[in-house]
Protein backbone atom coordinates (compact mmCIF):
# COMPACT_ATOMS: atom_id res chain seq x y z
CA UNK A 1 0.00 0.00 0.00
CA UNK A 2 1.53 3.38 -0.92
CA UNK A 3 1.75 6.01 1.74
CA UNK A 4 -0.91 8.66 1.18
CA UNK A 5 -0.37 12.35 1.81
CA UNK A 6 -2.87 15.14 2.15
CA UNK A 7 -2.35 18.59 0.71
CA UNK A 8 -4.45 21.62 -0.16
CA UNK A 9 -4.71 22.89 -3.73
CA UNK A 10 -6.79 26.02 -4.30
CA UNK A 11 -8.55 25.41 -1.05
CA UNK A 12 -9.48 21.82 -1.89
CA UNK A 13 -8.04 18.90 0.05
CA UNK A 14 -6.32 16.46 -2.25
CA UNK A 15 -5.10 13.05 -1.13
CA UNK A 16 -2.50 11.36 -3.27
CA UNK A 17 0.14 8.66 -2.97
CA UNK A 18 3.42 10.03 -1.68
CA UNK A 19 5.80 10.72 -4.56
CA UNK A 20 3.14 12.03 -6.95
CA UNK A 21 3.70 15.49 -8.33
CA UNK A 22 1.34 18.25 -7.28
CA UNK A 23 0.32 18.68 -10.92
CA UNK A 24 -0.66 15.07 -11.48
CA UNK A 25 -2.46 14.89 -8.17
CA UNK A 26 -4.39 18.07 -8.96
CA UNK A 27 -5.33 16.91 -12.47
CA UNK A 28 -6.52 13.58 -11.16
CA UNK A 29 -8.69 15.46 -8.72
CA UNK A 30 -10.20 17.52 -11.51
CA UNK A 31 -8.43 20.74 -10.70
CA UNK A 32 -7.27 22.63 -13.76
CA UNK A 33 -3.67 23.65 -13.76
CA UNK A 34 -2.70 24.56 -17.34
CA UNK A 35 0.41 22.79 -18.50
CA UNK A 36 2.39 22.26 -21.70
CA UNK A 37 5.58 20.26 -21.31
CA UNK A 38 4.09 17.73 -18.92
CA UNK A 39 3.51 14.22 -20.22
CA UNK A 40 2.27 11.33 -18.14
CA UNK A 41 4.64 8.40 -18.02
CA UNK A 42 7.90 10.31 -18.39
CA UNK A 43 9.83 12.39 -15.90
CA UNK A 44 8.81 15.98 -15.38
CA UNK A 45 10.99 18.62 -17.00
CA UNK A 46 9.72 21.80 -15.43
CA UNK A 47 10.68 23.67 -18.60
CA UNK A 48 7.60 25.52 -19.77
CA UNK A 49 6.73 27.08 -16.36
CA UNK A 50 3.03 27.13 -17.32
CA UNK A 51 1.98 24.84 -14.48
CA UNK A 52 3.24 27.30 -11.86
CA UNK A 53 1.69 27.31 -8.42
CA UNK A 54 2.30 29.51 -5.45
CA UNK A 55 3.50 27.63 -2.40
CA UNK A 56 1.76 29.38 0.44
CA UNK A 57 4.24 30.30 3.11
CA UNK A 58 4.38 27.91 5.97
CA UNK A 59 5.87 29.37 9.16
CA UNK A 60 9.65 29.65 8.89
CA UNK A 61 9.99 28.77 5.24
CA UNK A 62 10.21 32.27 3.82
CA UNK A 63 7.95 34.36 1.56
CA UNK A 64 5.49 32.75 -0.86
CA UNK A 65 7.26 31.44 -3.90
CA UNK A 66 6.29 30.32 -7.34
CA UNK A 67 7.38 26.93 -8.54
CA UNK A 68 6.42 24.42 -11.20
CA UNK A 69 3.84 21.96 -9.89
CA UNK A 70 5.09 19.17 -12.16
CA UNK A 71 8.41 18.98 -10.32
CA UNK A 72 6.99 19.68 -6.88
CA UNK A 73 6.41 16.51 -4.92
CA UNK A 74 3.22 16.34 -2.92
CA UNK A 75 3.89 16.07 0.80
CA UNK A 76 1.81 16.15 3.91
CA UNK A 77 0.56 19.61 4.81
CA UNK A 78 1.59 21.32 1.57
CA UNK A 79 -0.58 24.27 0.63
CA UNK A 80 -0.53 25.67 -2.88
CA UNK A 81 -2.67 27.91 -4.99
CA UNK A 82 -2.78 27.74 -8.77
CA UNK A 83 -5.09 30.66 -9.44
CA UNK A 84 -4.11 33.54 -7.20
CA UNK A 85 -3.63 36.88 -8.99
CA UNK A 86 0.16 36.46 -8.74
CA UNK A 87 0.11 33.03 -10.36
CA UNK A 88 -2.33 34.08 -13.07
CA UNK A 89 -0.18 37.09 -13.90
CA UNK A 90 2.96 34.97 -14.08
CA UNK A 91 1.31 32.31 -16.18
CA UNK A 92 -0.10 34.83 -18.63
CA UNK A 93 3.30 36.45 -19.06
CA UNK A 94 4.93 33.08 -19.74
CA UNK A 95 2.35 32.08 -22.31
CA UNK A 96 2.52 35.51 -23.92
CA UNK A 97 6.25 34.88 -24.45
CA UNK A 98 5.44 31.50 -26.01
CA UNK A 99 2.80 33.04 -28.23
CA UNK A 100 5.28 35.56 -29.59
CA UNK A 101 7.57 32.62 -30.39
CA UNK A 102 4.98 30.53 -32.20
CA UNK A 103 1.82 32.50 -33.09
CA UNK A 104 0.95 30.14 -35.94
CA UNK A 105 0.64 27.13 -33.68
CA UNK A 106 -2.83 26.01 -32.64
CA UNK A 107 -1.49 24.49 -29.47
CA UNK A 108 0.01 27.74 -28.31
CA UNK A 109 -3.03 29.77 -29.37
CA UNK A 110 -5.30 27.42 -27.43
CA UNK A 111 -3.04 27.55 -24.44
CA UNK A 112 -3.04 31.34 -24.63
CA UNK A 113 -6.84 31.41 -24.78
CA UNK A 114 -7.02 29.07 -21.78
CA UNK A 115 -4.80 31.14 -19.56
CA UNK A 116 -6.32 34.43 -20.65
CA UNK A 117 -3.62 36.13 -22.69
CA UNK A 118 -5.20 39.12 -24.35
CA UNK A 119 -2.27 41.00 -25.83
CA UNK A 120 1.19 40.22 -27.17
CA UNK A 121 3.71 42.95 -26.57
CA UNK A 122 6.67 41.55 -28.47
CA UNK A 123 7.65 41.35 -32.13
CA UNK A 124 6.48 38.00 -33.50
CA UNK A 125 8.83 35.23 -34.39
CA UNK A 126 7.73 32.07 -36.17
CA UNK A 127 9.21 29.08 -34.44
CA UNK A 128 7.95 25.61 -35.12
CA UNK A 129 9.27 24.15 -31.87
CA UNK A 130 8.70 25.39 -28.35
CA UNK A 131 11.15 22.98 -26.75
CA UNK A 132 8.58 21.23 -24.62
CA UNK A 133 10.70 18.08 -24.73
CA UNK A 134 7.88 15.59 -25.15
CA UNK A 135 9.55 14.04 -28.19
CA UNK A 136 12.90 13.79 -26.46
CA UNK A 137 11.50 12.16 -23.34
CA UNK A 138 9.25 9.72 -25.13
CA UNK A 139 12.18 8.52 -27.25
CA UNK A 140 14.52 8.40 -24.28
CA UNK A 141 12.31 6.98 -21.55
CA UNK A 142 9.40 5.17 -23.15
CA UNK A 143 11.14 3.55 -26.12
CA UNK A 144 14.63 3.70 -24.55
CA UNK A 145 15.86 4.53 -28.02
CA UNK A 146 17.82 7.67 -27.12
CA UNK A 147 17.93 8.90 -30.69
CA UNK A 148 17.25 12.57 -30.30
CA UNK A 149 17.89 15.19 -27.70
CA UNK A 150 18.19 18.82 -26.76
CA UNK A 151 21.33 20.18 -28.37
CA UNK A 152 23.00 23.51 -27.75
CA UNK A 153 22.66 26.12 -25.07
CA UNK A 154 20.50 29.16 -24.43
CA UNK A 155 18.72 30.56 -27.45
CA UNK A 156 20.57 28.01 -29.60
CA UNK A 157 18.87 25.13 -27.83
CA UNK A 158 17.02 22.95 -30.32
CA UNK A 159 15.95 19.36 -30.76
CA UNK A 160 18.30 17.42 -33.01
CA UNK A 161 19.59 14.05 -34.05
CA UNK A 162 23.28 13.38 -33.45
CA UNK A 163 25.22 15.03 -36.28
CA UNK A 164 21.79 15.64 -37.85
CA UNK A 165 21.70 12.05 -38.98
CA UNK A 166 19.21 9.41 -37.94
CA UNK A 167 21.19 7.01 -35.70
CA UNK A 168 20.79 3.27 -35.93
CA UNK A 169 18.98 3.29 -32.59
CA UNK A 170 16.06 5.12 -34.20
CA UNK A 171 13.36 2.59 -35.09
CA UNK A 172 11.18 5.07 -37.01
CA UNK A 173 8.30 4.63 -34.61
CA UNK A 174 7.23 8.26 -35.23
CA UNK A 175 6.04 8.65 -31.65
CA UNK A 176 8.07 11.84 -31.49
CA UNK A 177 5.80 13.32 -34.14
CA UNK A 178 2.68 11.91 -32.50
CA UNK A 179 3.30 13.58 -29.15
CA UNK A 180 4.39 16.92 -30.56
CA UNK A 181 1.83 19.60 -29.64
CA UNK A 182 2.84 21.61 -32.68
CA UNK A 183 1.65 18.95 -35.13
CA UNK A 184 -1.96 19.06 -34.02
CA UNK A 185 -4.37 20.55 -36.60
CA UNK A 186 -2.70 23.75 -37.63
CA UNK A 187 -4.27 26.95 -36.50
CA UNK A 188 -5.34 29.44 -39.16
CA UNK A 189 -3.09 31.82 -37.27
CA UNK A 190 -3.52 35.20 -35.67
CA UNK A 191 -6.87 36.65 -36.60
CA UNK A 192 -6.74 39.53 -34.21
CA UNK A 193 -3.90 41.94 -33.91
CA UNK A 194 -1.52 41.70 -32.31
CA UNK A 195 -0.96 37.97 -32.46
CA UNK A 196 -4.09 36.58 -30.80
CA UNK A 197 -6.18 34.08 -32.75
CA UNK A 198 -9.60 34.70 -31.26
CA UNK A 199 -11.43 32.01 -33.23
CA UNK A 200 -11.97 29.95 -30.11
CA UNK A 201 -13.50 32.75 -28.03
CA UNK A 202 -16.45 30.61 -26.98
CA UNK A 203 -14.17 27.95 -25.59
CA UNK A 204 -12.28 30.62 -23.73
CA UNK A 205 -15.34 31.95 -21.95
CA UNK A 206 -16.42 28.45 -20.94
CA UNK A 207 -13.05 27.84 -19.38
CA UNK A 208 -12.74 31.26 -17.78
CA UNK A 209 -15.90 30.89 -15.73
CA UNK A 210 -14.46 28.00 -13.77
CA UNK A 211 -10.73 28.63 -13.83
CA UNK A 212 -9.79 26.00 -11.33
CA UNK A 213 -12.04 23.19 -12.48
CA UNK A 214 -11.37 21.00 -15.46
CA UNK A 215 -14.24 21.13 -17.91
CA UNK A 216 -12.61 19.06 -20.61
CA UNK A 217 -12.35 22.18 -22.73
CA UNK A 218 -11.46 21.91 -26.39
CA UNK A 219 -8.60 24.27 -25.69
CA UNK A 220 -7.02 21.57 -23.58
CA UNK A 221 -7.39 19.11 -26.41
CA UNK A 222 -5.73 21.68 -28.66
CA UNK A 223 -2.53 21.82 -26.69
CA UNK A 224 -2.75 18.22 -25.48
CA UNK A 225 -3.06 19.23 -21.86
CA UNK A 226 -1.89 16.43 -19.61
CA UNK A 227 -5.39 15.66 -18.44
CA UNK A 228 -6.43 15.07 -22.05
CA UNK A 229 -3.32 12.95 -22.49
CA UNK A 230 -4.24 10.91 -19.43
CA UNK A 231 -7.75 10.42 -20.81
CA UNK A 232 -6.29 9.41 -24.15
CA UNK A 233 -4.13 6.84 -22.44
CA UNK A 234 -7.12 5.41 -20.61
CA UNK A 235 -9.62 5.34 -23.47
CA UNK A 236 -7.37 5.26 -26.52
CA UNK A 237 -9.13 8.32 -27.93
CA UNK A 238 -6.91 11.13 -29.13
Amino acid sequence: MPKWVSMIVDGATVRTPSGTSVLEAALEAGICIPNLCHMPGVHALGACRVCLVEVVAVAGSGPPRLTASCTLEAHEGLMVTAHSPVVVRARQNIVELLLAEAPNSRAIQDLAARVGVRVVRYPMRNKNCVLCGRCVRVCDEVWQSKSLGFVGRGHDRHVALPFNTRPSSCKRCHTCIDVCPMTVTPCPGPQKAPGICGLCESQRSMAQNTPDTCVWCELGRGFQCARWQMRGLKTGIR
Binding site: F150, G152, R153, A160, L161, P162, P167, S169
Partner: protein, 160 residues
Amino acid sequence: MDLSELDGIVQGRGSDPFDIMEVLQDIQAAYHYLPEEALCRVSETMGVPLIEVFRLANFYKAFSLKPRGRHLITVCMGTACHVRNSPRFLDEVRRRLRVEPGGTTQDGEFTLETVNCLGACALAPVVIMDGKYYEHMTPAKLGSLLGAVRAQEGRHLVHA
Protein backbone atom coordinates in the same frame (compact mmCIF):
# COMPACT_ATOMS: atom_id res chain seq x y z
CA MET B 1 41.83 10.72 -39.97
CA ASP B 2 44.36 9.29 -37.57
CA LEU B 3 42.48 7.91 -34.64
CA SER B 4 45.28 5.88 -33.09
CA GLU B 5 45.66 8.33 -30.24
CA LEU B 6 42.00 7.94 -29.50
CA ASP B 7 42.18 4.41 -28.14
CA GLY B 8 44.84 5.51 -25.68
CA ILE B 9 42.60 8.29 -24.48
CA VAL B 10 39.57 6.12 -23.95
CA GLN B 11 41.31 3.07 -22.53
CA GLY B 12 40.62 2.28 -18.93
CA ARG B 13 38.08 5.01 -18.53
CA GLY B 14 34.40 4.79 -17.92
CA SER B 15 34.04 3.76 -14.31
CA ASP B 16 33.51 7.32 -13.13
CA PRO B 17 30.55 9.29 -14.48
CA PHE B 18 32.81 12.28 -15.20
CA ASP B 19 35.21 10.23 -17.35
CA ILE B 20 33.27 11.06 -20.52
CA MET B 21 34.05 14.75 -20.00
CA GLU B 22 37.73 14.06 -19.46
CA VAL B 23 37.84 11.92 -22.58
CA LEU B 24 36.29 14.71 -24.64
CA GLN B 25 38.68 17.26 -23.16
CA ASP B 26 41.65 15.07 -24.02
CA ILE B 27 40.38 14.56 -27.56
CA GLN B 28 39.91 18.32 -27.95
CA ALA B 29 43.49 18.86 -26.74
CA ALA B 30 44.93 16.19 -29.04
CA TYR B 31 43.06 17.01 -32.24
CA HIS B 32 42.18 20.67 -31.58
CA TYR B 33 38.55 19.81 -32.16
CA LEU B 34 36.14 16.89 -31.75
CA PRO B 35 36.02 14.88 -34.98
CA GLU B 36 32.71 13.16 -35.69
CA GLU B 37 34.46 9.84 -36.14
CA ALA B 38 36.10 10.15 -32.77
CA LEU B 39 32.81 10.87 -31.04
CA CYS B 40 31.17 7.85 -32.69
CA ARG B 41 34.02 5.67 -31.49
CA VAL B 42 33.80 7.08 -27.99
CA SER B 43 30.07 6.38 -27.94
CA GLU B 44 30.61 2.76 -28.96
CA THR B 45 33.54 2.08 -26.67
CA MET B 46 32.23 3.78 -23.55
CA GLY B 47 28.62 2.79 -24.04
CA VAL B 48 27.33 6.35 -23.93
CA PRO B 49 24.48 6.98 -26.40
CA LEU B 50 25.69 9.02 -29.35
CA ILE B 51 23.08 11.70 -28.76
CA GLU B 52 24.49 12.21 -25.25
CA VAL B 53 28.02 12.60 -26.56
CA PHE B 54 26.74 15.00 -29.19
CA ARG B 55 24.90 17.00 -26.53
CA LEU B 56 28.03 17.33 -24.44
CA ALA B 57 30.05 18.43 -27.46
CA ASN B 58 27.52 21.15 -28.26
CA PHE B 59 26.82 22.37 -24.74
CA TYR B 60 30.29 23.15 -23.45
CA LYS B 61 32.26 26.00 -24.96
CA ALA B 62 35.60 24.27 -24.53
CA PHE B 63 34.63 21.89 -27.32
CA SER B 64 34.66 22.66 -30.99
CA LEU B 65 33.06 20.43 -33.59
CA LYS B 66 34.89 22.17 -36.41
CA PRO B 67 38.64 22.22 -36.94
CA ARG B 68 40.28 25.36 -35.63
CA GLY B 69 42.39 27.77 -37.64
CA ARG B 70 46.18 27.95 -37.45
CA HIS B 71 45.98 30.79 -34.94
CA LEU B 72 43.54 31.20 -32.12
CA ILE B 73 42.57 34.69 -31.01
CA THR B 74 40.66 34.80 -27.75
CA VAL B 75 39.15 38.13 -26.77
CA CYS B 76 38.08 38.48 -23.17
CA MET B 77 34.61 39.94 -22.78
CA GLY B 78 34.47 39.93 -19.01
CA THR B 79 33.04 42.88 -17.12
CA ALA B 80 36.37 44.56 -16.39
CA CYS B 81 37.40 44.22 -20.04
CA HIS B 82 33.98 45.39 -21.15
CA VAL B 83 34.17 48.68 -19.25
CA ARG B 84 37.60 49.18 -20.76
CA ASN B 85 36.08 48.81 -24.24
CA SER B 86 36.75 45.24 -25.32
CA PRO B 87 33.59 45.27 -27.53
CA ARG B 88 35.21 47.94 -29.69
CA PHE B 89 38.26 45.74 -30.11
CA LEU B 90 36.10 42.73 -30.93
CA ASP B 91 34.19 44.72 -33.54
CA GLU B 92 37.46 45.66 -35.23
CA VAL B 93 38.62 42.05 -35.32
CA ARG B 94 35.29 40.93 -36.75
CA ARG B 95 35.40 43.57 -39.44
CA ARG B 96 39.03 43.25 -40.33
CA LEU B 97 39.14 39.44 -40.46
CA ARG B 98 35.54 38.98 -41.59
CA VAL B 99 34.88 36.36 -38.96
CA GLU B 100 32.35 35.98 -36.17
CA PRO B 101 33.15 34.72 -32.66
CA GLY B 102 33.27 30.92 -32.74
CA GLY B 103 34.19 30.94 -36.42
CA THR B 104 37.30 30.57 -38.51
CA THR B 105 38.44 32.81 -41.37
CA GLN B 106 37.94 31.54 -44.91
CA ASP B 107 41.63 30.92 -45.38
CA GLY B 108 41.81 28.86 -42.19
CA GLU B 109 44.27 31.25 -40.64
CA PHE B 110 42.45 32.61 -37.60
CA THR B 111 39.81 31.28 -35.27
CA LEU B 112 38.13 33.93 -33.17
CA GLU B 113 36.76 33.04 -29.75
CA THR B 114 35.41 35.11 -26.93
CA VAL B 115 35.71 34.18 -23.29
CA ASN B 116 33.93 35.56 -20.27
CA CYS B 117 36.78 36.47 -17.96
CA LEU B 118 40.24 35.00 -17.78
CA GLY B 119 40.90 36.44 -14.34
CA ALA B 120 43.64 38.83 -15.54
CA CYS B 121 41.51 41.91 -15.06
CA ALA B 122 44.42 44.20 -14.18
CA LEU B 123 45.54 43.81 -17.79
CA ALA B 124 42.14 44.62 -19.26
CA PRO B 125 41.28 44.53 -22.11
CA VAL B 126 42.99 41.15 -22.47
CA VAL B 127 43.52 39.19 -25.66
CA ILE B 128 45.22 35.82 -25.97
CA MET B 129 46.90 35.04 -29.27
CA ASP B 130 48.16 31.47 -29.55
CA GLY B 131 48.44 31.14 -25.80
CA LYS B 132 50.25 34.42 -25.25
CA TYR B 133 48.57 37.14 -23.23
CA TYR B 134 48.36 40.67 -24.64
CA GLU B 135 47.37 43.46 -22.30
CA HIS B 136 45.53 46.77 -22.63
CA MET B 137 44.47 45.95 -26.19
CA THR B 138 42.81 48.65 -28.25
CA PRO B 139 41.64 48.67 -31.89
CA ALA B 140 44.74 50.70 -32.71
CA LYS B 141 46.97 47.83 -31.64
CA LEU B 142 45.21 45.20 -33.71
CA GLY B 143 47.20 45.93 -36.84
CA SER B 144 50.54 45.30 -35.20
CA LEU B 145 49.25 42.18 -33.44
CA LEU B 146 48.11 40.60 -36.70
CA GLY B 147 51.27 41.81 -38.40
CA ALA B 148 53.45 40.16 -35.78
CA VAL B 149 51.65 36.83 -36.18
CA ARG B 150 51.88 36.93 -39.96
CA ALA B 151 55.53 37.95 -39.87
CA GLN B 152 56.20 35.00 -37.57
CA GLU B 153 54.52 32.71 -40.08
CA GLY B 154 56.44 34.22 -42.93
CA ARG B 155 59.67 33.56 -41.09
CA HIS B 156 58.73 29.94 -40.58
CA LEU B 157 57.93 29.50 -44.24
CA VAL B 158 61.32 30.89 -45.20
CA HIS B 159 63.06 28.36 -43.03
CA ALA B 160 60.88 25.44 -44.05
